[in-house]
Symmetry: C2
Subunit: 215 residues, 2 copies
């Protein structure tokens, strides 16, 4: 059964939850836990232990019922599965209000993500160092991205510039884009775009918070 499961398509929500488990495990590690139960890992996540075990089963289970999970081993395992076991270089494109806020975002630490460069087209910003990251001219983006071998980008340019900039990113080797511009990108297959659309998130929240009120 568990062998067969590996052939199934892994649900996107499973992958998203793996990231949450990893975050939870990092916290437990900081609190000096070495062996933990599934319920300790999922306690603040609104996720059941059954769901947790099911999610892990796609990648080979590591825990034993009644024994628990080694924090260090499970962290390493999840990091390998997610592909964040080595440093992941990221760039931020568009150093406006949101872009500069993300350069300072503290949540990236502990997860091997490092912002290696930021880009803008504003002469007043180019050359400045913000949160330890130098803001480069967007015209040099291709050269910098290629030389650093960056595969991931955070896109925080205005909506009307997003498509053009995203195409440039793809042309210089970027494979995944976290898109904060409130527009959809039309890119070749094989490029993965994750849209973080605050309005869509708020609509989602509105629906469920109203549902809760009614129920």
């Amino acid at each position: 059964m568990s062998k067969k499961k590996k052939d199934y398509r892994i649900p996107q929500e499973t992958i998203r939850r793996l990231g949450l488990y990893l975050r939870s495990l990092r916290k437990l590690q900081q609190q000096n836990f070495t062996v933990v139960s599934s319920s300790q890992i999922t306690s603040h996540l609104n996720i059941t232990s059954d769901q947790f075990r099911k999610d892990l089963s796609y990648f080979g289970s590591l825990g034993k019922r009644g024994v628990g999970y080694s924090v260090d081993k499970l962290i390493k395992h999840l990091e390998r599965v997610l592909g964040v076991d080595a440093e992941c270089k990221i760039i931020v494109v568009g150093v406006g209000k949101l872009g500069s806020a993300l350069l300072a975002y503290p949540g990236f630490q502990n997860f091997n993500f490092r912002i290696v460069a930021a880009f803008d087209n504003d002469i007043g910003k180019i050359g400045r160092v913000w949160e330890g990251v130098k803001i480069e001219n967007i015209l040099n983006m291709e050269e910098v991205v290629r030389s650093l071998g960056v595969k991931l980008a955070i896109l925080t340019v205005p909506a009307d510039a997003a498509q053009q900039v995203a195409e440039k990113l793809v042309a210089c080797g970027v494979r995944g884009i976290l898109n904060f511009a409130p527009t959809n990108l039309n890119l070749p297959r094989g490029i993965y775009v994750l849209n973080v659309d605050m309005a869509t998130e708020l609509m989602f929240l509105t629906y469920f918070s109203r549902k809760n009120l009614a129920g």
Copy 2:
């Protein structure tokens, strides 16, 4: 069959997609389209027409095969379903880098979301007006939130303050929280929390962008 579907549990991803359809429809409306096909609505979303029809079927279908969807009617329908057909008041709690960036975020327009107040505990910020929104003392949060009848909050305080602030929000009537603090909130049942965790999103992206490289 479609009548029975209404009784099923509606997948969260369906609700998330409804927001994307609404955004897509707004764009088509701005381009003066009055009747559109499902593929026009989903063209830039990486969502199939079948999925679109399935998502809509949970709430009673509005389109006719070969005739298409009235843009205005479908917008109104989706707004009603999501609960964003009337103005939704939101507050932003924590006017640091991310909070102030969100006050300026252009994506909320067109979706009936209005940020009615922002809160911080920094004396240097309190009383200032940022992007048309007055920054209030967080000590007055309860009073302001109650008097305005706010049900939704965007939480952008530091991680170590998030739980305490979230409990205060719940105490004064907030039912849904968009949480940007990189920590999990432990709140009573019936309160809906949506975590926007940039590190988790990036892990998700890393997984899929690597998968694409391999496949």
